[in-house]
Amino acid sequence: MMARQASRRRVLKGAFAVAGAALVRAGTAQPAAEPRVIEMTAHRFSYEPNEISLRAGERVVVAIRSLDFVHGMNIPDLGMRLDLVPGRVTRLELQPKAPGTIDFVCDNFCGDGHEEMHGRFVVSA
């Protein structure tokens, strides 16, 4: 079971190019197409939307605004996490390469309901 989970984590990590450098196309004459921007809000105790559909190979930027608390956004399968500071827009760049599901969870304890604050990216072919 553990081996299967570890294997799945590796597959999922390989399926995503994440943030910044992964999106730079050095030496490419043609500029990359602008990524699709997906607006998200975080507030006690949910992300809206909390399920985001993506297509494999698509570049997206998730622009996240926290309304009330420094919520966390932990994406264990990608080995990354963010602090979502109110008053700022936190940008998460993703480029999924293969179908799959990636869960995310608030990992800054935010009150009675923190345990229900989670969501997922669903990547289709």
Binding site: P76, V105, D107, G111, E115
Partner: protein, 294 residues
């Protein structure tokens, strides 16, 4: 009746017994063993919780106190590994819950009781209210040759121990022999049990790394509302049952929602444990007990 026999009997009636790898308690040269002792761990009482996962929440803690008081051999001390109260945004209500909790557990006959916060007690105000009632959130003490270290991984809402506390831990460990028996008490798992459910400590690996050079380390924690046993190298980690509602096994379902209350078996999945430290060459023994014993 010898303490060992008593444990065997309670194991039959109360739960599983197993041995972890804590060894090294010294015996006196004259053969009189002064290092045998046991203590009780209670966890996640969530005083103030109201909800369908435990319609009996107003009296479950009192029943557990009565059960501990009725133990044939009283423990030498008791530890509460966090989430004494259920969280609230209202600072006055938080203090009221802490005060009520403290009043209820004052009925424990054993008066040496060690407390720790959980995130429900401490994360929203960084431990301010908790400290008013129970003092420091991290500390050490020694008992009959065993060194106990309480690590706070909840006062930071990001589930971090923090550099300052890690430095404190490093300095404390530097005073110990590498063979010293060490028990770590904490609330969250120090390893990545289930990060998707926030069952982890963000910098817990640094604490484990500091503990690794020591041969006899055992960690007791709470947070996940169930018994769970895992090794990181030679270090054993044992989570305790809750006294409010059980949670599902890590990763066994999509979300970490409480297991439903079973009216035909009240308190199912709840309980506390005894932990016995024996003499040289033996292991810590853990006995799981229910809230109410038949």
């Amino acid at each position: 009746m010898q303490r060992r026999d008593f444990l065997a009997l309670t194991a039959l009636g109360g739960g599983a017994v197993f041995a972890s790898g804590l060894a090294g308690c010294a015996s006196r040269a004259d053969g009189i063993n002064q290092t045998d002792f046991y203590f009780v761990q209670l966890s996640d009482t969530h005083w103030g919780y109201q909800g369908p996962a435990n319609p009996d929440a107003a009296i479950t803690l009192r029943k557990a106190v009565a059960t501990v008081n009725a133990l044939e051999t009283p423990p030498e001390f008791i530890v509460f590994t966090g989430d004494l109260t259920h969280t609230t945004d209202d600072p006055a209500e938080r203090r009221r819950r802490l005060a009520e909790f403290k009043s209820i557990v004052a009925d424990l006959k054993v008066k040496t009781v060690r407390f720790m916060p959980g995130e429900h007690d401490a994360s929203l105000d960084r431990g301010a209210a908790y400290k008013e009632f129970f003092g420091e959130t991290s500390y050490t003490f020694d008992h009959k040759g065993v060194h106990f270290i309480a690590i706070d991984n909840v006062s930071d809402p990001g589930a971090k121990i923090g550099d300052e506390q890690l430095a404190w831990l490093r300095a404390d460990l530097a005073k110990l022999d590498k063979q010293a028996p060490i028990v770590v008490l904490t609330h969250r798992p120090l390893f990545d049990l289930a990060p998707k459910w926030d069952w982890a400590t963000r910098d817990g690996a640094q604490a484990v790394e500091l503990l690794m050079p020591f041969a006899n380390v055992t960690v007791f924690y709470g947070h996940i509302h169930q018994e769970h046993h895992q090794m990181t190298g030679h270090i054993a980690h044992h989570s305790a049952k809750s006294l409010i509602f059980p949670l599902p096994a890590p990763g066994s379902q999509p979300n970490r929602t409480p297991l439903p209350w079973d009216a035909s078996a009240p308190y199912k999945g709840l309980g506390f444990r005894e932990i016995e430290a024996e003499a040289a060459g033996s292991a810590l023994k853990v006995v799981e007990l229910p809230v109410v014993r038949a």
